[in-house]
Amino acid sequence: MNHKKSTFELLSEKFGKENFDEVAYAGGMTTIIVPKSILAEVVRFLHDDPRCSVEQLTDIIGIDYQGYAQETPSRFALVYPMLSLSHNKRVILKVWVAEEDMTVPSLTDIYRGANWPEREAAEMFGFSFEGHPNPKRLLLCDLFEGKHPLRKDYPLQGQGERESFRIVDRETS
């Protein structure tokens, strides 16, 4: 093989060039912007194709860009750092998610490791992952029902959860 195609080239070839965008950041990281509608197919292709063979999903990172220094296409984004062990290469995907429609396809049927990171992103930012086997809250207690603490408009001091925490004593338990 004389010329190895990059992941971006392979994806453009398969799904059409107009769907993707590549962003290079200062620290040497390159992120591929993927439209939300084809995310599941793209990840399935990356996982199955031997030229990519992205076997592992490292993490799922939700970001709220409200008040960011730069204009962004939409308020929320999900970043999927992934890893190909056989090629020793990291692939980082980014999906822009609009505030109006926060439904994102779940990757749990491709990567079992996506289960908890998706639940965490869902409760912290309010994403809803379509096809998730167990879309319950993971880290937060019941007082946070309907609240998303990592959003930028949620105050650092909280919204009174600490004060209204139910105290269990011997008589009432």
Binding site: Y25, I63, Q70, V168
Partner: protein
């Protein structure tokens, strides 16, 4: 203690039952002979707070449902309100077994974001100390694992050698646990005089301890009976579950960031990566034992090769802490010193994003940073290895007995502060 009724929140009775389940056996309706047992959140073997709901058929586990979040402290929200140098104090609280490894991983991410190269001396020092943190972590993990199967002697042996490591950290930065040793572009202080002698003495003792531990455990029929074929995960499953670090290598995953994505001074070091093929608790024990030997080798090499010179990057960059001689000797030094501790007067960052990962004792610890040009992170996501490891616990425990729960949990070395953040 009396509490006013006004403070209580009205929660539906069903929810209360879900929160405070009594620690007794309950028959699962409609299944004949199955019982539900709550394991934790307070149990010595969970080390901190992890809640497992075990559905039992006799003593066999039919189904295991993990509940986490008891130690959630909102670290990622805190990161958005602290400067990069302030947040290092939170990173060591995130890992109470080998805190200094988290310090190094955090500041490596910050340095990658602002694009500075640290000095050679700092690279070697960080490599050395990251390996000492690995020893600290593995000694605790193997020690606890042996305690869980009743081998008290090995536990005491391993904890005895852990003590000098903690003492060395204390003389390095003044704290045994909450180290916060690193700073952007260097460290809080250079290595003290005579510190390397202490490290060499520790290494000598360590070899002897590990030999003794091998004699006690490695071919011990009782230990093997308890650990072989317990909590098995195959290579493909380990990769699919997102496993990294020693637990993944015990399942046969050939991956070590120190070799595959070399950072700090690891390219100059001669060491081997320990891999096991069994994927069980015994394999994890063997991998950790071998990694301790390799860590010791790296420490010895680092002491030999560490160059003299500055620990911090050039102070003209206004990134690292001010040199103390300059602070007391010149007005520029005083200004630098004050600016570095004042809010919004510290170094600025580019508008960028970065993912930086390091091989910490437990696996891949990654930080995803989004910066908006100020001295505080816009978003700092921690990719804790334990978070992805514990997901597989239901798979690991299925079909095993209750006594194997503690063995499996301790072999994963779950750190709940990192798990819940």
């Amino acid at each position: 203690m009396k509490h006013e009724k006004g403070n209580r929140l009205s929660i539906e009775p069903e929810t209360i039952e879900q929160i405070a389940q009594p620690a007794t056996l309950e028959r699962v309706p409609g299944t004949g002979d199955r019982y539900v047992l709550n394991f934790g959140p307070q149990h010595p073997a969970t080390h901190t707070t992890i809640h497992l709901v075990l559905e039992l058929d006799g003593e066999r586990i039919v189904k295991c449902t993990p509940h986490i979040g008891y130690l959630h402290s909102g670290f990622e929200k805190l990161a958005e309100h602290h400067t990069y140098d302030q947040y290092v104090t939170v990173t060591d609280r995130m890992n109470y077994i080998s805190p200094i490894a988290n310090n190094i991983a955090w500041h490596t991410a910050v340095e990658k974001l602002i694009g500075i190269e640290i000095t050679e001396r700092c690279k070697y020092a960080r490599t050395l100390i990251a390996e000492m943190a690995r020893l600290q972590d593995h000694l605790l993990c193997v020690g606890e694992a042996t305690l869980e199967v009743g081998a008290m002697t090995a536990f005491v042996l391993l904890f005895n050698i852990r003590e000098p490591i903690m003492d060395l950290f204390e003389s390095l930065c003044g704290a045994r646990f909450t180290t916060s040793w690193t700073r952007t572009g260097g460290a809080m202080a250079d290595i003290p005089d005579g510190w390397f002698d202490g490290v060499l003495a520790m290494c000598e003792k360590l070899t002897q301890t590990i030999d003794e531990c091998h004699t006690l455990l490695t071919r011990n029929p009782i230990f093997m009976e308890r650990t072989c074929d317990v909590g098995v995960l195959t290579t493909e499953e380990a990769i699919n579950f997102g496993w990294t670090g020693p637990v993944a290598r015990a399942s046969g995953v050939l991956r070590d960031l120190r070799k595959d994505e070399p950072y700090l001074a690891y390219p100059e070091m001669d060491f081997k990566v320990a891999v096991a093929s069994t994927g069980d608790v015994y394999g994890r024990y063997l991998v950790r034992m071998e990694e301790m030997i390799q860590s010791r080798n790296i420490i010895l090499q680092a002491i030999e090769k560490i160059p003299d010179g500055e620990m911090n990057v050039d102070s003209d960059l206004r990134i690292a802490q001010a040199n103390k001689a300059e602070v007391y000797g010149s007005i520029e030094g005083v200004i630098h010193h004050f600016e570095s501790v004042m809010p919004n007067r510290g170094f600025s960052t580019p508008i960028s994003e970065v993912y930086s990962a390091q091989e910490t004792p437990n696996g891949e610890l990654g930080f995803y940073l989004v910066s908006d040009g100020t001295s505080q992170a816009f978003r700092a996501k921690t990719r804790g290895p334990s978070f992805l490891h514990l997901q597989a616990i239901a798979k690991l425990l299925e079909g095993h007995t209750i006594s194997e729960v503690v063995v499996t949990l301790s072999s994963l070395n779950i750190i709940a502060a990192e798990l819940d953040r």
